[in-house]
Symmetry: C2
Subunit: 226 residues, 2 copies
DNA sequence: TCAAAAGTGTTAAGTTTACACCCATGA
DNA sequence: TCATGGGTGTAAACTTAACACTTTTGA
């Protein structure tokens, strides 16, 4: 008997905090829990880690199952390991957050999954410690967003400056001065104005912009800061 | 058979990145691994989570076992869950970092534990993914230190401004202008000058300061930023 | 008396904030 | 023609960065 086998084993799960942005609001994808205890209540999207699966890969798998999307920006939030966190069994859960373009998730798939996009400021009660997970994930997102160009993951490829500003206002939870915001954006060469015009949000039309990741990576001096 | 029991179980471990500060250098406490595989090689201080133990509590327990200290500042770094990370068995490990005053750890206990304080810039090779854990922990520490008064955990209760500056230089990895540094410190009412004088580091003697956590918490306007 | 660390201000550059009006368009 | 969202610049306040010499003491 080796040294390892004298120790206890645990279920290991992943839970995903899936962020989206819609009509000026930051949203989180929630799902009705499908098994006891607390079947039918709202929870994050989760799943158990498999025997031969990296924990990170389990999160990717769960996300793909529930949204149909791959290659999504994900980051680990941390492990939640209280003895009593899951009343059904001892489960250590690793939380991940994902940032995606809400329009890429078909309504078909969300209704099939019994899931819906809750406003982060108006969420139903969640099972177990999922509320805490959301809070941690949101805090991480706020920190991240100040120094890394991750917000673009929540927008379509082409977006207007108004959308971008509303996105940051939603994440940070406070208003931003329009002129100052646009000045800062103008200084970032990797946020490129395209020739396209969005006519959906205004009669006048707004220029559409694109985040150029390559320019961002290449231009050594490029930094994102808000 | 309930829904949980169809899933796999895993060993869950904690690994501690224990930071200390000594003679101008940021240090990490390493230990010779006591069991196979890789027995005798350098590793972080770790241990397995017990059946009825919170993961956070396991980290506290491991730290206390290996340093004799309690009530130490600790924060989770994250879970490391690659299938192949531990060649002995499938182990999901949750890393934590701790900040403590190196002088509080007796040399007796470190020699008994086969451990030593490695300079963060000159560490031996570590087993498994422990090097990555140290890197993540250090990055987290750098981020944290910019906005939270956590550095004091690495110093004795009374410290000189030179010590404090050297600490920040060691954590951040770059030199800081002495006058600018001292100006910023002077603006923080919660870093109090005491009547004590340190005569160890200089003939002239340097004023000893103290971090007053209460003042920091109470004074609502107080913010720490470096 | 000298070596070693402690202590101390000013200025210029850069960054951040506050703030209000005209523009283009479709209904 | 008017309602709606798009787009634009300047000045003051504040923050950061650069920089060099004097003090105290024990050996």
């Amino acid at each position: 008997m080796d040294y390892y086998s004298q120790h206890s084993k645990f279920y290991v799960a992943v839970d995903c905090i899936i962020f989206g942005f819609q009509r000026g609001a930051l949203k989180v994808l929630l799902q009705r829990r499908g098994f006891e205890p607390h079947a039918g209540e709202w929870s994050l999207m989760g799943g158990f880690v498999r025997r031969n699966e990296d924990v990170d890969d389990a999160a990717v798998r769960v996300l793909e199952n529930l949204t149909g999307l791959r290659n999504i920006y994900m980051k680990q939030v941390g492990a939640f390991g209280s003895v009593t966190r899951d009343s059904g069994a001892r489960v250590v859960s690793v939380a991940y957050f994902a940032l995606l373009d809400i329009d890429q998730v078909s309504e078909e798939i969300t209704s099939e999954q019994n899931s819906f996009w809750a406003d982060i400021n108006d969420m139903p009660q969640l099972v177990f410690d999922h509320q805490r997970m959301v809070k941690s994930a949101h805090e991480r997102l706020i920190t991240l967003v100040h120094s890394r160009p991750v917000g673009f993951n929540l927008l379509p490829e082409l977006f207007t400056l108004t959308q971008l500003q509303q996105l940051y206002e939603a994440i940070l939870g406070h208003a931003i001065d329009k002129r100052n915001f646009r000045k800062r954006i103008a200084d970032m060469a990797f946020i490129e104005k395209t020739d396209e015009i969005d006519k959906v949000m205004s009669r006048r039309g707004a220029a559409l912009y694109r985040f150029n990741r390559q320019t961002f990576n290449e231009d050594d001096g490029q930094r994102f800061r808000l």
